[in-house]
């Protein structure tokens, strides 16, 4: 055990892969934030909504319009400094906090991609990714060690492996493999694409993409780890992600993975690459000395963190009855592009003056918020409670019932939330299965 830890966590290795990760990731963050701004999504996601769906029962303080733009300006500035490696030890945690704030404002904006970015930024808070090719290195007179303990790189590899592997496991599902859903619904709508377009309307295409995607996700971490297949593996990473980039509106995520998987290449490859374009100096041989206390701390943190990472995607086993339907344990589990789910919901409100009326949330929420809420039970519950808090009449709201229908993977709409249940009597921690109708 200690041998394994010694080898994978504390062996001295060259820091060059971390340099690649820092520069590529930082540049993508900068680009991603500017793109987000350019498309008007700051307005759309953070300024327009008058109500935000909160995570885990706590509400983030919502900033004013100017405040939100300031946060994004700060984010762009920090990403640039991050890329350049300027005061990296301070900039990386600040960038993590800024991004974390943006992500925690509203659950309806949750994307697994952003969750992955958050984790990567969390890692960067602890790893010396600005040892070389950085403003910090230029600033410091004395020569800095070019070697780092192996864990600083391996945590990235393990995390990327987890993302792929669990995304693949999630695809071992009869809808995905046997019925080629939801790709059978999505691909024909892309029939306008040149070259592959006509083929996409053929159901065979959905099967090929479903199976290839599943096999790819499950196997790619190992293909990238194994030296003889690594170059082929990376080639398929590029092909796979560019294909998904063409087919689906998934933003910069394909590029995040294309760049992050570069970390699987050995340090020499990175060193060679950077030396060729920058004429950087040779590697210093000095090794960081590591105390046993340090080793214990790092080992403990790595083991705890990744145990959680392994358990989170599996928590649905104990929580959920039908994961796609109740979504108990769906988030933070690397379930991407996995189902087509659309819904319609409105609320019937009763008060103690004997009045009954309807609240149509599609009038008060943005389109994104509404479409997300309509299929996610916890958000429906949150909004029901919000309606009660909005009440300004003299009569107290006594009951809120949801009239909701959801279509899962194109199988026809079915009633979703039990219309007979008063959602005001359900607390956030209530048992979801008791107020959701069975699929």
């Amino acid at each position: 055990m200690t041998d394994i830890l010694e080898k994978y966590l504390f062996k001295s290795v060259s820091a060059w892969p971390l340099i690649t990760l820092r520069v590529a990731f930082g540049a993508l963050m900068t680009f991603g934030a500017l793109r987000f701004w350019y498309y008007g999504w700051i307005e759309e996601l953070y300024i327009k909504p008058t109500f935000h769906f909160h995570y885990f029962g706590f509400e983030m303080p919502i900033l004013s319009e100017a405040g939100m733009y300031f946060i994004f300006m700060l984010f762009v500035l920090l990403s640039i400094l991050f890329t350049l490696g300027f005061f990296f030890r301070i900039v990386a945690p600040l960038l993590f906090l800024t991004f974390g704030y943006i992500e925690l404002v509203d659950v309806s904006t949750y994307l697994n991609h952003y969750y992955f970015v958050s984790i990567a930024l969390f890692f960067f808070c602890f790893v010396p990714a600005a040892r070389m090719l950085s403003m910090d290195a230029l600033r410091k007179r004395e020569s800095i060690s070019h070697v780092v303990p192996a864990w600083t790189i391996n945590i990235f590899l393990l995390q990327i492996g987890i993302v792929y592997f669990f995304a693949g496991l999630a695809k071992l599902h009869s809808d995905w493999l046997i019925e080629a859903l939801p790709l059978k619904l999505w691909l024909p709508a892309r029939a306008h694409l040149p070259l592959i377009g006509p083929f996409l309307e053929n159901p065979i295409a959905a099967y090929i993409f479903s199976w290839a995607g599943c096999i790819y996700d499950l196997s790619i971490p190992f293909i990238l780890l194994y030296k003889p297949t690594r170059v082929f593996g990376y080639f398929s990473v590029v092909v796979f992600h560019i294909l998904t980039w063409i087919l689906f509106p998934i933003g910069i995520f394909p590029w995040v993975m294309i760049f992050m998987t570069l970390a699987f290449f050995p340090p020499e490859a990175h060193a060679q690459f950077w030396k060729r374009i920058t004429h950087a100096a040779g590697t210093a041989a000095a090794t960081d000395s590591m105390s046993s206390g340090y080793k214990k701390l790092v080992s403990a943190m790595v083991v705890i963190f990744f145990t959680i990472q392994f358990l989170l995607p599996l928590r649905f086993f104990v929580l959920s009855e039908n994961l796609f339907w109740d979504e108990l344990g769906f988030r933070f589990s690397w379930r991407v592009m996995l189902m087509e789910k659309s819904g319609d919901v409105h609320f019937r409100v009763s008060d103690d003056c004997g009045r009954t009326y309807i609240v149509e949330p599609s009038q008060q929420l943005t389109k994104l918020q509404y479409t997300q809420m309509a299929t996610q039970p916890d958000l429906i519950l949150q909004y029901a409670h919000h309606i009660a808090s909005l009440n300004s009449s003299d009569c107290a709201v006594t009951a809120i019932h949801a009239a909701s229908y959801v279509n899962l993977n194109g199988r026809g709409s079915r009633p979703f939330v039990d219309p007979d249940i008063n959602l005001l009597e359900v607390t956030d921690k209530g048992d979801r299965l008791s107020w959701l109708l069975p699929y």
């Binding site: 619904l185 709508a189 029939a191 065979i204």
Partner: protein, 355 residues
Amino acid sequence: MRTNHLIGIAIIALLFSSCKDKKEDETQTESFATLLIRTEADLIAPALSDFESAAAQFADAAAIFDVSTTAQNLTQVQEAFIDAYVAWQKVSQFRYGPATEFDILGKMNTFPTDYIQIENAIQSGLTSGLPNATKGLPAIDYLLFHQPNDEILAQLFDQSRKNYLLARITEVSTLATQYKTAWANGYKSTFVNADGPSVTGGLSLLANGLIEDYEQLKREKVALPLGLLTLGIELPEKVEGYYSQQSMTLILAQLDGVQNLFNNGDSYGLDDLLDARDAWHSPSNMLLSERINQQLDEARVALAFIISPLSEAIGTDPEIVENAYNELQQVVVLLKTDMISALGVSVTSTDNDGD
């Protein structure tokens, strides 16, 4: 290594099959683009023409009334008005391109109309630079019907009032022509060629425009006056066509407009595309297109039970109106969840990872 080979095989299979199946697929791809081409040619263009000519006839009747202000000519104007209002109900589904460019929905049909502002404008002789709530069809509805006909006729001998009315009618007819022309010259090809599933793609515009229009029918024309959205307080003055008492005619015309757009008559419509995609409604065990048509028909039957005018039925038979609302709501579910999923156009403008 084995998985390695599998991927290789999959990629090769993909390349091969894309060559092999090409012929067969071309007809299918046609069906995808055909929907936009046929809908534009067989439904949108004719509906826009109908609306334009109805608006033109309305303007003609008004011109005659202007010269010869008689009770008989007033009735002619009123009849032409209702025809134009009915024709409008069949073009309000195209809520994109020229519609947004000209703010056609706001200018044509903002109701309830603001009669206090209208009266003020008439008093001060103002005919232009007015907000949407003082113009369009609902304003004309007020001017032509808010009193018994002999009173209306007497009022319209006031030149300022007549000028205001004529300016509104000219506006409607000019806008109808602009709307049609903008489609014919330019937007038509933009629409037909805007394929793909993005929010700006033709299929997404078509489907989402249809849903938005239908939801407006359900919400603003039925639920709101009935008081369903307002603590149960009935708001009969919020019905469409309040003064002419034509609410039910207009609602039924819009329902026809929605259903015609869905089926595109005997031509290639959303119903055919859904059938081509084998869209099935499993809870009722029938084709989704059939289920949607069935529910639209049920909504129509439920609406037919309402004794016109709607503004009075709300007070006398609220449960009949609410029943119609419930039937209308059933269609919303089918369109918004089932149709959208089956067409693969459930996209938002932001990034997505499908969860």
